[in-house]
Symmetry: C2
């Protein structure tokens, strides 16, 4: 074959990805990625979705994975493009969301000249990625892409970053690689199964089954419930929950509270904690004179399955060891009727439970006002609830956007969004409008970093003018209706729960996004 | 002194910074920084300016330094907060802008527990910082802050990042540190002075004096002009120009073009290039079959002063060696009269030159449409022009905001801003409104990533639907008037140069920001 007929590295990349089942690319390209963009243009099979800032791009890929259960790819421009997307990669890493990040770079021979956009992409990528590789030659790109997809399909440790120098992209000699076999998760340790079974057998109500990661899925919850029902043990979820399958007819699964005093109190009674895809419970932050670990000092921790192991297999093994029968869930809360009045956290939760359609996806970055929304919505129609996992604010709107794409447009997404964190990645609304995505945003406008005002008071002082200059968002007020409209999303303001409910229900019939600014 | 009377690490940090002349803090704090916020609240002397996303915060600090010629500090929340601000730290590094980044972190004893927000802050910081240190004890914070300020006051290699674990912040035993002496720049090599003098003596019009960094300031330009006038040599600036002092009565200094074919053509004739705070000219990106280095293959490069050396001293030494007299600048272009008609790059440049007030500061992230604005505005009233230095888009609005603060509100800032890059850090407008800053933004709305469409055509193809999905911004159109108003900035749309001129002139009398969306 003559060289001119050989495919470029970029073409081999696109063909390898499509052959491997990666068919969605969240993108914000730049000059060094133009040959890859050209390959995407010429080879059918990849849906390309533009985000106007890279944290939107990476957050969309996170939301996509959480709903579709398979990786998308991202396309990012050089070190600064990756840097802009790192915060939501941090959240995606904590969520265990797989993706293949393709980061364009200077040509291999150009990089040593340190042109202005040159940066240490590998160093940046390693802070979040489980797998990092730079494709040094066009001939390597296909096999590197196959390895990246393999990494992105493992459980939990699955953020892969493939760095693509522009000469590896435009150069000829590219070879399409076959998909590599899925890597097996580390096997469940039979001794861990025995230890968990023994604790459940003897501990009864002093045992806690703590679910995390894939443990939040319905199948795992059901297995955990069988264990709890037979043994008298309790079940809780970690505070960090990437995707909870829940609602009417499912387990009303509570999570460890964010507030570390409350968490310590909840956990104090347990002598044994069986960790199922969960990590030992620690506080989000340290505080003077408070413990870092939230469980009792003398509690025994039993690691049944680490986050990167198969939690369903682990739970099923304990079910078998104990020989416990299936058990029905207790009757749950009824779906609330029409809720009216001024917005309160409890009222909003009940209103949401009353209107939420079956199969809805909730993206929750409601922060302080929304801390109780989860607990009060067990009675809603069956739905998925996606939480902020890594504490880096600015993932709610992008995750909602990517989740809508991950569901193929067939499910309504409800994006519960605090105003301070919404300002981090408001550009997401533009992508929602462009792609006509069925996302309804409830923008909780309290015009302050309320969580920080609470934390500040914990320091033991009332914030003065200088502190409030850094905590207050009311000067000037942020006009969310105008911001949404400026990005092509229809929006209205609501001041009562009945107004908000009417607008939500109307929006659920729209084949496009909608935003309600709820003044709280 | 009893322990309860000792100051906290946070208090020692604030007092050390204020004593060292750092009096401005661009901030987006989080939980782990609350004790630092409390110290800022209780100790007078630091102006705190909130940005609603960290790339706004770091970009403001860059703009502040470029105009005030002294460092501010930033306050960032953990690894993700730093990550969000890295792109504009990359630009600041390329601009040679000093600052002290204070990044809050988990308590030292809490970090090993890997709570959700935990990240490798040092690894992230090292990708952009010349100086990185973690204060491991409250006793160390003051001296570490003094060292950070010393680093931030050197020339060019002056990005300092101080990582502040929360127990070093709240713990007692803090000690205020005296300011450390300013570090001397590496001395100018007398042999380099001789070599530059010899080249100028013998080379005449085949010699280029290439200015970069501090070489763009008026004093350096004047010294370079004396050399050029006496020897017949040419003067150019690097493409990357952090701050150019220019306008009527000053040198009409041209820069090396961005386009690498044009740059190669401009540089082809020079046998000798004297680098004065500039780096050897290389293209922004590599292209197939084009050279990476833009100068002639056989050109001799003479490094008179590296970016981190004192360029004025170096130029003065060559002036002395050659004994050249002072020389007046050639008569420059006249200030254009009123300009009318449809917006064109040339028309916009002439209109700007006609209305720009003396002492204006221009923040230029006008990208493709604005590539000629610089060259056509030599005749404007004396002003400073700030360029995007690192190629990471999203610095124009934050740099404009920080520059206004760096000038103490006494100078009008004109922010020339392309729409695609504006969407990266539009939150800047909110800070402009909150601080009532005299910034007029000209938002050049072309509704596409036009620079990339040009680059795509360079690949040799016309973009199809998939490519345009990643390059076009018109679906939906971005409503800049609504976006600005949503963040408290008055805004209007203009379709002609005379409309735009009238609005600009009116805005120059306002003690607050204003935005003109110029539809191009």
């Amino acid at each position: 074959m003559s060289q001119a007929n050989e495919m470029t590295g970029a073409e081999s990349l696109v063909r390898t990805m499509i052959a491997g089942g990666v068919d969605t690319c969240f993108a914000n390209p730049g000059t060094s990625e133009m040959h890859f963009v050209a390959a995407l243009d010429q080879i059918p099979g990849m849906r390309c979705v533009l985000g106007l800032q890279e944290n939107v791009v990476t957050g969309m890929a996170d939301g996509f994975y959480r709903i579709a259960d398979r990786p998308a790819c991202t396309l990012l421009h050089c070190g600064p493009g990756l840097a802009n997307g790192l915060a939501n990669l941090h959240n995606a890493r904590r969520a265990g969301s797989g993706m293949v990040n393709i980061v364009g770079d200077q040509a291999t021979y150009h990089a040593p000249l340190d042109a202005p956009l040159t940066a240490d992409i590998e160093a940046l990528a390693r802070t979040v990625s489980a797998w990092v590789r730079t494709s040094a030659r066009p001939q390597d790109v296909g096999q590197d892409a196959a390895a990246a997809m393999q990494a992105a399909r493992t459980i939990a440790r699955n953020l892969a970053t493939l760095i693509l120098p522009s000469d590896s992209s435009w150069g000829r000699g590219g070879v399409v690689a076959e998909p590599l076999p899925k890597l097996r998760a580390p096997a469940i340790d039979p001794h861990a199964v025995e230890a968990a079974a023994a604790a459940l057998r003897s501990g009864g109500p002093n045992v806690l089954i703590l679910l995390g990661g894939r443990g939040f899925r319905a199948v795992s919850q059901r297995l955990a419930w069988r264990l709890a029902h037979a043994s008298g043990a309790a079940i809780l979820g970690e505070f960090v929950a990437p995707r909870v399958e829940r609602g009417a007819g499912r387990l009303p699964l509570e999570r460890i509270p964010y507030d570390t005093d409350a968490a310590t109190k909840v956990l104090a009674r347990y002598t044994d904690i069986v960790l199922v895809g969960a990590r030992p419970p620690v506080s989000f932050f340290a505080y003077p004179d408070k413990p870092s670990r939230q469980h009792a000092n003398d509690a025994r921790l039993h690691i049944l399955a680490r986050p990167e192991q198969d939690v369903e297999t682990a739970l099923a093994a304990v079910v078998d060891a104990l020989g416990v029968p299936d058990a029905a869930y207790p009757a749950g809360a009824d779906r609330p009727q029409r809720v009216t009045g001024k917005p309160s956290p409890e009222g909003l939760a009940r209103m949401l439970a009353s209107v939420m359609p079956e199969g809805a996806i909730v993206s929750d970055e409601s922060i302080s006002f929304g801390r109780g929304l989860y607990a009060e919505t067990h009675g809603a129609a069956p739905h998925d609830w996606l939480h902020l996992t890594g504490g880096a604010i600015g993932d709610g709107l992008p995750v909602a956007t990517g989740a809508a794409i991950g569901a193929g447009g067939s499910r309504r997404v409800i994006s519960l969004q605090a105003d301070g964190s919404a300002m981090y990645s408001l550009q997401s609304l533009w992508t929602q409008a462009r792609e006509r995505l069925p996302v309804t945003t409830v923008l909780l406008s309290n015009r302050k970093y309320n969580i920080l005002i609470g934390e500040y008071k914990g320091v033991g002082a009332v914030p003065g003018q200088t502190a409030m200059n850094m905590l207050d968002l009311s000067n000037p007020g942020i006009g969310w209706v105008k911001l949404a409209e400026g990005m092509g999303v229809e929006a209205v303001q609501a001041h009562s729960l009945e107004q908000c409910a009417d607008m939500l229900e109307a929006s659920f019939h729209l084949a496009r996004p909608f935003l309600v600014e709820l003044v709280i």
